[in-house]
């Protein structure tokens, strides 16, 4: 659906790498172009017309985000992306509030940006990282999480949807459990927010991170949402202009209120405006429709793949648009180069989930990650390409 909005979607080109980044609709690029061509100006301190317009658009995006994921607009912090957001949670909040021996529950399907900051914090202050075992389908269930909780568990940090397996974690149930047990609930929404309706308040999340570029928005911008009382206690990682109320020679200073306290320096203004446009665009389509389209595409793809007994699919079950697979006897990267010859863009590798190999017994896969603008014809083109797989080395060498 909506293919006409995407200039890159030319006849014959199949973009199946949406887990890495998504294509940009023309309206998003146009909104950023307008900023650059019609009202370039910095935020917060300009009294001229262009600056007033920029300010209104920039601050207005907080409201758009709050409507999109149901949260307080004053608790929407602009970041450079989900990685930055997650690092702010770990080093801005957790470093100050956790102590030696406190347990943080993770799992091995997580992306590097929800593991490596924690490993670093463990090195710094001696917290204990525990990995919730995945089930036989490499999924992370509520029951499995519950079993790992002890009286030392202070944080559960996980992706709502993982980027290789694509399993959808029951964040509402996990959030409720966390609230009841006074455990902080940190959610990586990079692969969920672009694809389904996410509700920050009703899922009892304490922190939610996501990126703009994985949801039709520009690169270089993302969001961190936090519960107000937690954000009040979070330390900025960056100090400078725009975030201070005053500072004096005697070393006294005062910071501004949240959320601008966390946005030192000139932010990515055009990108924030582009993000707002992207979210509005997605809301107009409807997140339920987007999710339904992806699930039906996956179902169709799995059905078509049944005829190939040399294709292994690692994630049959999850209700999302991600399919991770391998072609028997072919290295994932060679397979993706082969698909490129048929104008099909996929991603080969471990997809930054470098601990997942411990559970899956396979290090690299080819990942097909779909979005609402993918079609059944895209899948047919992929299946047609597969029929040439016996010629793979003639094609790629």
């Amino acid at each position: 659906m909506n293919r006409e909005d995407f200039p890159m979607l030319q006849e014959g080109f199949v973009f199946f790498d949406n887990g890495a980044t998504t294509l940009k609709p023309k309206c998003v690029v146009d909104a950023m172009k307008r900023y650059y061509e019609e009202h370039t100006s910095n935020i917060h301190r300009g009294d001229y017309d262009a600056a007033v317009k920029t300010n209104a658009l920039y601050d207005g995006v907080r409201k758009i985000v709050s409507q999109f994921v149901n949260c307080d607009p004053n608790c929407v912090i602009y970041t450079s992306g989900a990685t930055h957001s997650l690092n702010m949670v770990v080093f801005g909040y957790m470093r100050k509030h956790l102590k030696k021996g406190d347990e943080v529950l993770l799992n091995k399907a997580e992306h590097a940006s929800n593991i490596l900051p924690w490993i670093k914090l463990q090195e710094e202050i001696g917290i204990v990282l525990k990995y919730v075992p995945l089930d036989e389908n490499y999924e992370c269930s509520f029951e499995s999480i519950e079993k790992c909780v002890t009286d030392k568990t202070k944080v559960i940090s996980l992706a709502q949807v993982t980027n290789v397996i694509g399993d959808v974690r029951d964040v509402t149930r996990i959030g409720k459990f966390c609230r009841e047990h006074h455990i902080l609930f940190n959610v990586d929404g990079a692969q969920s927010v672009p694809h389904m309706k996410v509700d920050f308040e009703n899922s009892d999340m304490d922190f939610l991170s996501f990126s703009g570029h994985k949801m039709c928005g520009p690169t270089g911008v993302g969001v961190l949402i936090g519960r107000r009382e937690l954000l009040e206690e979070m330390e900025p990682l960056c100090y400078g202009g725009g975030m201070n109320a005053f500072f004096e020679e005697d070393n006294s200073y005062e910071l501004k209120e949240i959320p601008v306290r966390f946005e030192a320096g000139t932010p990515p203004i055009a990108e924030v405006i582009g993000l707002g446009e992207a979210i509005t665009y997605l809301m107009n389509i409807g997140m339920e429709r987007i999710h339904e389209q992806e699930v039906s595409l996956k179902k169709y793809l799995l059905e078509k793949l049944k005829e190939f007994d040399d294709i292994t699919v690692y994630n049959q079950n999850p209700n999302s648009g991600i399919v991770s697979l391998n072609l028997e006897g072919v290295f994932a990267q060679d397979f993706s180069i082969f698909l490129n010859h048929f104008h099909i863009a996929v991603r080969a590798g471990n997809h930054c989930a470098k601990l997942l190999k411990d559970e899956m017994d396979v290090k690299n896969t080819v990942r097909i990650s779909m979005y609402f603008y993918n079609t059944f014809e895209d899948i047919d083109q992929f299946i047609d390409a597969l029929r040439h797989r016996s010629e793979i080395f003639q094609i790629i060498l």
Partner: protein, 140 residues
Amino acid sequence: MDENLRREIILDNYQDPMNRGLIEDSSYVRERMNSESCIDDLDFMMKIEDGKIQDIRFDGEACAISTSATSIMIRKLMGLTVEEARKILENYQNMIYEKEYDSELLGELNVYDTIHKQPNRMNCALLPSVAVKKMLEKLK
């Protein structure tokens, strides 16, 4: 070079590479090559005795180009003096980067003389040469 011959040499070395599999031996120098640009991940080990390369072995997961280049490189370098090996490595890297080089020195390594046409594969072809260079540095 004839395209069929080129493909055959690459494929033979990919499907049945020389000296795949590491051994326990402390007299070898080791190097892990985790490509920055792709997902090749190979471990190398090399033994030098009396100024000559006695053995190079490797293991791990990598694409057809990296694996075959490693195999062909091992065949080429075994038994050579360190100086002879350096000369080949330099000429090989020059070939990949489209600089001047002596093709007569390179033997079957010439199969990668057009790899620059696929820029995203140049690092795959370079991988074994970088590994051997790093191991030679360690032995200095």
